[in-house]
């Protein structure tokens, strides 16, 4: 029997979690848009819209301190950021295309080097996903193997029901714990009918075939034709749930300063600029090619996963209308 | 047309105007009334220290003025001052206290409170010429002082030193002449407008006063003036009260009436001559005024 939670109780759950001093993050109205932000109470939660930025920043902040350094009594001292101080967090209301991203990113952050910052935050967080009931012409999750009701990546997965309540499936132990710790808010019972799910208007792509094409088409006129107009901004990468490149900067003076890690994007002209001044990806379409290659070939080569959840954010945000869904379709067609 | 707001002034008469210079006070009040200006005496004012205090104890002289200025804050309007010596002392104290931090602190200790000396201090000449304005004076003349040849006597305190009173050109002022011309009188060109009358040596070293004041009377006569107009009760005293003994000592005959400018302005504006204290001075000006058909 699945657990049921009413919308009111879902909001109460947030209230109790906040009271427990947990960092509760969920979709929240922020001016003209919805963003994943810390919720101060249940009323803050805004469901039914895709937040402008993905939820990856809960684990992989836009900018975070790694260490601080400073001179004290003539001696330079370095202080690491205390990872133990990262808060216990609950991500509530993440749509499948967001909830799925950490499970993709875990691989890269624990491969040859364990990124303690990411992993610590990941360990301390519980993801409550929610099935998606609305979409637009940029959505294409179904084309890349995700679905509006995919619980992949969620610890607890909510399915909206027609009566306004949610069916809850504990996907992992963390999810079970969350339910059991707040048992009074959940009730067991027969679920009403599920609310209608979103249905993106895209055909399923053959990702294996696309990868195969990419294997052999590093040089191809396609890249110029689709990406000459790319501006080289980082909008697509920054709002993408799966992009995870970062840069490290020291800011301050030799006396006092902070080492910071922050998002980077392969579209930036300086991304691969060498100290010598040479840039192997010297023009924009080469950079854009890398974006596609990384998502659909290199990551797969290394970790067996595609680096895209089909959320469509990059399509909506691109200032020059570059449409990754359209490009994948073209490749799919070319790949036969 | 914007309705004219009535100008109000607070008033610091100073001791002379309550004693030997009473006619200066009377005529000042009459003049303000005639011009429709408010004039309210600062209650409980006391001596400004003029003129000897600053030679004896500068701190005392500053503190006296600081306290007076502070009390003046209680009364609405810029502080109108008639006596040239009071004007000089108050302005001087303001200048010193504002520009010398150490002195300010000492004064604050002395008067046991902040030295609040921001109240604008204005001589009545200034109020007439600049705030009321020559045009308005001219407009309001009822009895033009035609044919009256006046030697305008500024004395030593009114404009000096240049950075303190900021009343007019330090060595060649014209404010009195400007006012007189507006009233229809005829200011004469003469040499001793700015010379010292001997001021407060009047009691301690009358010989000095006799000499200096004689030079003033002599040059006014040389310039064919009918009378002398002053803005200072000390000058008035020396030139008026001592005139006879000066004449005697120098075998001269001057018979020059000494007016306060307030008297002449008020007269021209139509204030009855009986309200201007012409009867309480030594050299009776009334024969002259009658001769010129001004009374």
């Amino acid at each position: 029997m699945p657990q049921i939670i009413t919308e009111a109780n879902l909001r109460s759950l947030i209230d109790s979690l906040v009271k427990e001093s947990k960092l509760v993050v969920g979709p929240k109205e922020a001016g003209s848009m919805v963003l994943y932000q810390p919720l101060s109470n249940g009323a803050d939660l805004k469901l039914g819209a895709l937040p402008r930025r993905s939820s990856k920043e809960l684990f992989f902040p836009i900018c975070e301190d790694i260490l601080t350094f400073g001179k004290e009594d003539g001696v330079t001292k370095v202080k690491d950021v205390d990872r133990a101080s990262f808060p216990d967090a609950v991500l509530i209301g993440a749509l499948p295309c967001d909830a799925g991203s950490p499970s993709i990113l875990d691989a890269v952050f624990s491969w040859d080097y364990n990124d303690d910052f990411y992993l610590e935050r990941r360990k301390k967080s519980t993801i409550v996903g929610i099935a998606c009931t609305s979409c637009d012409d940029a959505c294409f999750c179904t084309a890349v193997g995700y679905a509006p009701d995919s619980p992949a990546g969620s610890d607890l997965f909510l399915t909206p029901l027609k009566d306004g309540s949610y069916a809850c499936n504990a996907v992992t132990e963390k999810g079970e714990k969350l339910v059991s710790a707040h048992g009074s808010l959940f009730k067991e019972g027969a679920a009403a009918d599920a609310a209608p799910l979103a249905a993106p208007d895209t055909a399923k792509l053959d990702l294996a075939k696309i990868k195969e094409w990419l294997n052999t088409h590093f040089e191809d006129p396609l890249w110029q034709s689709i990406a000459d107009v790319c501006l080289g901004c980082g909008a697509c990468a920054f709002i993408c749930p799966a992009c995870h490149c970062f840069d490290i900067n020291d800011e301050g003076t030799p006396d006092h300063g902070t080492r910071r890690k922050h998002w980077d994007a392969c579209g930036f002209g300086k991304f691969t600029n060498h100290a010598s001044g040479h840039n192997p990806r010297d023009i924009q379409n080469k950079r854009y090619r890398n974006r596609i290659m990384h998502k659909f070939k290199y990551y797969d080569d290394k970790f067996g996963k595609t680096l895209c959840t089909g959320c469509g954010r990059c399509i909506r945000a691109c200032p020059v209308g570059i449409d990754i869904g359209d490009i994948l379709n073209k490749i799919n067609v070319q790949a036969g | 047309m914007t309705p004219k707001k009535r100008l109000n002034y607070s008033y610091y008469p100073g001791c002379s105007l309550h004693a030997s210079g009473r006619e200066y006070d009377i005529s000042t009040r009459a003049l303000f009334k005639a011009l429709g200006l408010g004039l309210k005496e600062v209650p409980d004012w006391f001596c400004c220290g003029a003129t000897p205090a600053h030679n004896v104890d500068e701190l005392l002289s500053l503190s006296l003025c600081a306290k007076n200025l502070k009390m003046a804050e209680e009364v609405e309007g810029d502080l109108a001052v008639a006596c040239a010596a009071c004007f000089s002392r108050l302005k001087h104290a303001q200048h010193k206290i504002t520009h010398d931090e150490t002195r300010r602190r000492q004064v604050e200790t002395a008067i046991d409170g902040p030295a609040d000396v921001k109240k604008p201090v204005k001589h009545i000449l200034e109020i007439l010429a600049r705030e009321v304005g020559l045009a308005k004076l001219e407009e309001n003349v009822k009895k033009p002082l035609l044919g009256l040849k006046v030697a305008c006597y500024y004395g030593c305190l009114l404009t000096r030193p240049p950075e303190v009173p900021e009343l007019d050109d330090c060595e060649d002022p014209s404010i009195m002449e400007d006012i007189l011309r507006a009233l229809g009188a005829e200011p004469v060109q003469w040499s001793h407008r700015m010379e010292c009358c001997g001021a407060n040596f009047t009691l301690s070293r009358p010989g000095v006063v006799m000499k200096l004041s004689n030079a003033i009377l002599d040059s006014a006569q040389f310039a064919k003036a009918d009378c002398i107009m002053v803005a200072c009760p000390l000058c008035h005293g020396n030139l008026d009260i001592r005139q006879e003994s000066i004449e005697n000592k120098n075998q001269a005959s001057y018979e020059l009436p000494i007016f306060y400018f307030t008297q002449l302005v008020a007269l021209a504006l139509g204030v009855p001559s009986t309200d201007l204290g012409f009867d309480s001075v030594i050299i009776d000006p009334r024969p002259l005024l009658r001769e010129k058909q001004l009374i």
Binding site: R52, V229, C233, A235, H262, I283, V320, D323 | -
Partner: protein, 314 residues
């Protein structure tokens, strides 16, 4: 009165207008390519989605026949002529489709020696307006979807171009939302203005879309990418974000053509054009300078007069 009320309801612009402009662009582009007058035409192609058009450099008559003009043709294409986008154009004379606001950018770039008029064939558009950043998806231009800049456009009609596409339909006067917003912010107490911008800038993720989309941000090395010295922190924290946006506005002062692409491109909806407009307003007031469709020899901050205002200097 009646007619006006009716017009307001529909926001006036018939789809036929866009079709006519599209046809005019296509035939002219095909013609100049065919004649060999130009080696390429920069224009717009339709996107997969109705609400999208994609800038494109077309070199064949066949492609040129697919060029469009629609409310989705928001981009300022002059960008593609600058050195910032090098390597995508063939040599020779280039044709470019330009709206009035884009023309001001072209003129600005000419004034800054980035392009030469002789190297261009400009297809100007009698532009009725394009859609805003958060346009609804059906591709129709309505009063709700029209871009803010178009509401107060002073450059509907192109000047000094080689070809004019389309006839300007009747345009209704629209409330100047941006001017009102500008006035509102200017009227705020200073602390409130700081709070307003602080909130706006804190949202910035430093994706640099505003810079990359700007025709005037053609520097090879942006000041804010430099780390020796670091003039602007590159990390996307509120401090560096604020500095970045101030520096950006300052660098564009007296140069900005007012195409508002920065604001449109911002994924975080920061009202960047308000900064540009405020600067333009100031330079107009102080030095009577305005961006125009004709190149100007010197911008307002590259020249001076001996009696310039200095009331702010002690």
């Amino acid at each position: 009165m009646n007619a006006k009320a009716q017009k307001a309801k529909g926001c006036g612009i018939e789809p036929a207008y866009y079709d006519a402009v599209t046809q005019a662009i296509r035939s002219e582009a095909v013609k100049v390519l065919k004649e060999g007058a130009v080696s390429a035409v920069i224009g717009y192609l339709p996107g997969r989605r109705k609400s999208a058009a994609v800038p494109a450099v077309v070199t064949t008559e066949e492609e040129a026949g697919r060029l469009i003009f629609s409310p989705a043709c928001v981009n300022n294409l002059s960008l593609y002529l600058t050195k910032a986008k090098k390597g995508i154009l063939p040599g020779g004379k280039i044709g470019i489709v330009a709206k009035g606001c884009d023309l001001r950018a072209l003129a600005g770039l000419m004034g800054e020696s980035q392009i030469k008029r002789d190297d261009l064939f400009i297809i100007g558009i009698n532009c009725a307006g394009v859609q805003g950043a958060v346009a609804a998806g059906n591709g129709q231009l309505t009063e709700a979807s029209i871009a803010k800049k178009c509401r107060e456009c002073t450059a509907h009609t192109p000047e000094g171009v080689d070809f004019v596409a389309g006839t300007l339909p009747h345009l209704d006067g629209l409330t100047p939302l941006e001017a009102e917003e500008l006035a509102r912010i200017e009227a705020m107490p200073q602390a409130e203005r700081w709070a307003y911008w602080k909130e706006q800038f804190s949202r910035c993720i430093r994706c640099m879309a505003c810079r990359q989309v700007c025709p005037f941000c053609y520097c090879e090395q942006c000041l804010c990418d430099k780390n020796r010295p670091q003039a602007v922190e590159s990390s996307p924290r509120p401090a560096g974000n604020t500095a970045w946006h101030i520096v950006r506005a300052m660098h564009l002062a007296g140069r900005c053509a007012g195409c508002a692409e920065c604001e449109r491109s911002c994924p975080m909806d920061i009202p960047l054009n308000l900064l540009n407009r405020r600067m333009a307003q100031e330079l107009k007031e102080l030095y009577d300078y305005e961006a125009s469709m004709a190149p100007q020899e010197k911008g307002p901050l590259n020249q001076y007069k001996e009696d310039d205002d200095q009331s702010f200097i002690k």
